[in-house]
């Protein structure tokens, strides 16, 4: 009855009870948990038997050799992070890390509202694929909110750890880095801009002058027979009442009459904005600033044109 094994088990039970460390009660808000309490466990030594199975004298021999007595019997493999016990450990870790950073760097100067650099963050699908975890939209949005808050830190004072953390969440290709070259007025007072409409494109050279306009080397009336087309070509100047203040030299190609006229409209507006940037709201209201994205719809199989169906036959 009093076999050595039973005795050892009983001892093990009592010793495990003794060696249990009471953890402190978890804090109220898990986003602001302090991770300093958690440490990785000591590596498991497989060359020695479990501490519980060793005799007392063997155990003491281990102490004399100044090797830590590992009670293999009561050994617990503690996870590296408590997030192990969540459904999405890596996500939870990320969230907590970002929360820490936010809290830590809360007092750093931030950029004004709307002036933070525009970043394309990873989509939830990209994140889920990367981490291979079932992250929910609500959860990911919370993550994005933290990222955006960290993004507002002034770039000159942004700590390296924050930068490193933000980099891991940015998309590989940042579309917002693709900014158009700013249109400037050169040394001769000429600004050059390009506009497109349907399949036409136009390049306009705008310079201060008396109101002359030449399209492909021909006068305005010679090139555009319709008054409507003429007006729309120089609409940017007409609606701001600056027709007599600038000279226009335009090169248009592709498309038809109206397409070229509208392309010149856009190009003229962009060139005018180089001279007078404050006219942007007025030109936007006039409809000169947005590039009309409409194109001719392609013909589809089974239809006569893009949408026109052949005559319906009952049978």
């Amino acid at each position: 009855m009093d076999s050595p094994l039973l005795r050892r088990c009983a001892r093990a039970v009592t010793t495990t009870h003794k060696h249990i460390r009471r953890r402190a009660a978890p804090q109220q808000c898990r986003f602001y948990a302090d991770q300093s309490d958690f440490r990785a466990a000591a590596p498991i030594r497989f060359d020695q038997p479990r501490a519980e199975l060793l005799d007392n004298d063997e155990r003491s021999r281990g102490r004399k050799n100044e090797k830590p007595e590992i009670d293999l019997y009561s050994l617990r493999i503690v996870p590296a992070s408590p997030s192990y016990f969540t459904a999405t450990p890596q996500y939870t870790d990320d969230l907590l890390h970002l929360s820490t950073l936010v809290r830590r760097h809360k007092l750093l100067p931030h950029l004004p509202q709307g002036e933070a650099p525009r970043i394309a963050w990873k989509t939830i699908d990209q994140y889920k694929t990367e981490k291979a975890e079932p992250v929910k939209m609500k959860g990911y949005n919370a993550l994005l909110k933290l990222l955006k808050e960290l993004n507002y830190i002034h770039p000159s004072l942004m700590p390296e750890e924050v930068k490193a953390a933000l980099e891991t969440f940015k998309r590989d290709v940042q579309p917002y880095l693709n900014v158009p070259k700013p249109i400037t007025v050169d040394a001769y007072g000429v600004s050059i801009a390009v506009g497109r409409r349907k399949s036409s494109s136009a390049k306009v050279y705008l310079v201060e002058g008396t109101g002359e306009a030449l399209i492909n080397g021909r006068p305005l009336t010679d090139y555009f027979g319709r008054l409507h087309d003429r007006e729309s070509a120089v609409w940017a100047l007409k609606c701001t009442q600056r027709l007599d203040k600038y000279n226009v030299w335009a090169l248009a190609k592709g498309g038809g009459t109206t397409g070229q006229a509208e392309a010149i409209t856009l190009a003229c507006a962009k060139a005018l904005l180089a001279h007078e940037p404050d006219l942007k709201p007025a030109l936007r209201r006039a409809g000169c600033v947005t590039r009309n994205p409409k194109r001719v719809e392609r013909k589809k199989p089974g239809k006569l044109k893009a949408r026109k169906m052949p005559a319906w036959v009952k049978r």
């Binding site: 006068p219 319709r226 120089v234 027709l243």
Partner: protein, 482 residues
């Protein structure tokens, strides 16, 4: 009646005066100045016809039975009286010179060739006096496509080209040895070439010159009038009916012809009394059979040296000959010769007559002006004339200028090139901003343009009309009612 839409500019006439009614009857006794439609003037509209017809199928004396148009078997019958021959053409060519709805511009000076040199006239609009308007109408100087019908009375802008033209007229009038000014006007469509011709004719009429006008050179070569080869001459063809109409209009437009007598004998197919007036001689030429010999006789009389001391009736004034649409006579005509090939326009006697004077081969003994204008809207394909205009312009600009050369591997009409040798060409460009302001103020004073004439508006319209092209300026300001 549906409103018309201009297919080019998609404008609709918003003023009631611009809506044209199409009458179905004609009355040949309408006065030249009337603005009422011939249909209304005929007085043949019955009250019952003006009411909208509700019940339709009873035949009456004047109209046959109306057939329903719904069934495809029955072709709709034409009702009403068909137009008389020439009525549609008369309607098409009808020129209205007055609009009673427009305001009268107070203090508008008359186009006085003696006063045109005054700087104050330049840039303002001058009215045409009545004694000039009637002869201009007879020679068809007014065109139906021009905007005469929009204003109270005919008036034209005095632009820098007008002042220059007036200086030439003055020079010719004052010269003793019979100076002849020969010019070809060319430029963009709507730049005012035809109106400059009209102004030259107006100045000539007021100075008492004899004016011969070919309003549309197209009519000479399009093949719509009769043509006959000259006796024993395979090259030249005369156009009897055209010549006859020209001779019919000549004394009506130039009353001075009634005072002139022939200075020599002429070999004519009919016997004429020796003291016949030139006006009566022209009247005899209304018969197409003898029109050409009489025209030649009249012309030789007009270009005979003036003999003011010999007797009355032998004074010869200078002659102005004008032609519009030069491209049509610088290419092949629609007439066919006996082999079935197209005749070149230069084979027509009238065309040859004009071109010999234009090139300077036939001088005018008493001086005068020979002016031709190209037409931007009614152009025949004549690469030779286009090239000749560019070449002559380059030659006149500066001696060392880059003179264009024709590609020797491409065929060119050498006759037209030769005809244009040594002829001065004159490019008519857009108005200046001051002149544009002047004409826009006239539009505003006439009540046809409602905006206030400010520098911004003038600049805007000047640019939108392609640098002050008058025709486009008028279209943008007066015809398009935005």
């Amino acid at each position: 009646m549906s409103l018309q839409i201009c297919l080019r500019c998609l404008s609709r006439p918003s003023a009631p005066s611009q809506i044209r009614l199409v009458p179905t009857t004609t009355n040949k006794q309408t006065a030249a100045f009337t603005t009422s439609t011939p249909h209304a003037a005929a007085g043949r509209i019955q009250v019952s016809q003006m009411k909208p017809k509700r019940t339709g199928n009873k035949p009456t004396a004047t109209r046959p039975v109306r057939v329903k148009r719904l069934s495809p078997k029955n072709v709709p019958q034409r009702t009403g009286r068909p137009p008389a021959p020439g009525e549609r053409k008369a309607l098409r060519k009808r020129v209205v010179l007055s609009n009673t709805n427009a305001l009268e511009v107070q203090g508008m000076p008359d186009l006085n060739p003696w006063q045109l040199f005054d700087k104050s006239m330049h840039g303002s609009v001058a009215g045409l006096p009545d004694d000039v308007v009637d002869p201009l109408r007879v020679v068809e100087a007014f065109k139906p496509t021009q905007g005469w019908s929009l204003f109270r009375r005919p008036a034209t802008l005095v632009r820098s080209e007008t002042v220059e033209m007036a200086s030439w007229v003055q020079e010719v009038h004052n010269s003793q040895e019979g100076k002849t000014v020969r010019k070809v006007l060319f430029g963009e469509r709507g730049s005012g070439k035809s109106v400059l011709l009209l102004q030259a004719m107006a100045m000539a009429f007021s100075k008492g010159w004899v004016v011969v006008n070919f309003p549309e050179a197209k009519d000479l070569t399009i093949g719509h009038t009769s043509y006959v080869p000259l006796y024993r001459n395979n090259q030249l063809y005369i156009q009897p009916h055209y010549t006859a109409s020209l001779l019919a209009a000549l004394p009506k437009a130039n009353p001075i012809l009634a005072d002139l007598r022939p200075s020599r004998e002429h070999n004519l197919p009919i016997s004429v009394p020796p003291n016949i007036s030139l006006a009566r001689l022209c009247d005899l030429g209304k018969d197409p059979e003898i029109a050409w010999p009489i025209f030649q006789a009249v012309w030789s009389e007009l270009t005979a040296p003036s003999q003011p001391d010999e007797g009355e009736g032998l004074v010869r004034p200078p002659v102005l000959m004008a032609l519009d649409g030069l491209h049509h006579i610088m290419c092949e005509s629609e007439y066919l010769d006996r082999d079935g090939k197209h005749l070149h326009a230069h084979n027509l006697a009238l065309v040859q007559h004009f071109l010999s004077h234009l090139s300077g081969a036939s001088p005018l003994a008493n001086g005068g002006m020979i002016i031709a204008a190209t037409s931007g809207s009614n152009k025949a394909a004549s690469p030779a004339l286009d090239f000749a205009l560019r070449r002559n312009e380059a030659l006149a600009s500066s001696p060392g200028a880059d003179i264009p050369a024709w590609d020797p591997y491409r065929k060119i009409d050498t006759r037209s090139l030769k005809a244009m040798d040594g002829v001065e060409v004159w490019r008519i460009e857009g108005l200046s901003k001051e002149e544009a302001r002047g004409i826009m103020e006239y539009y505003a004073k006439s009540g046809m343009m409602r905006q206030t004439v400010s520098d911004t508006l003038v600049g805007e319209r000047w640019t939108l009309s392609g640098g002050g092209i008058v025709g486009e300026l008028e279209r943008g300001s007066v015809r398009m009612r935005i």
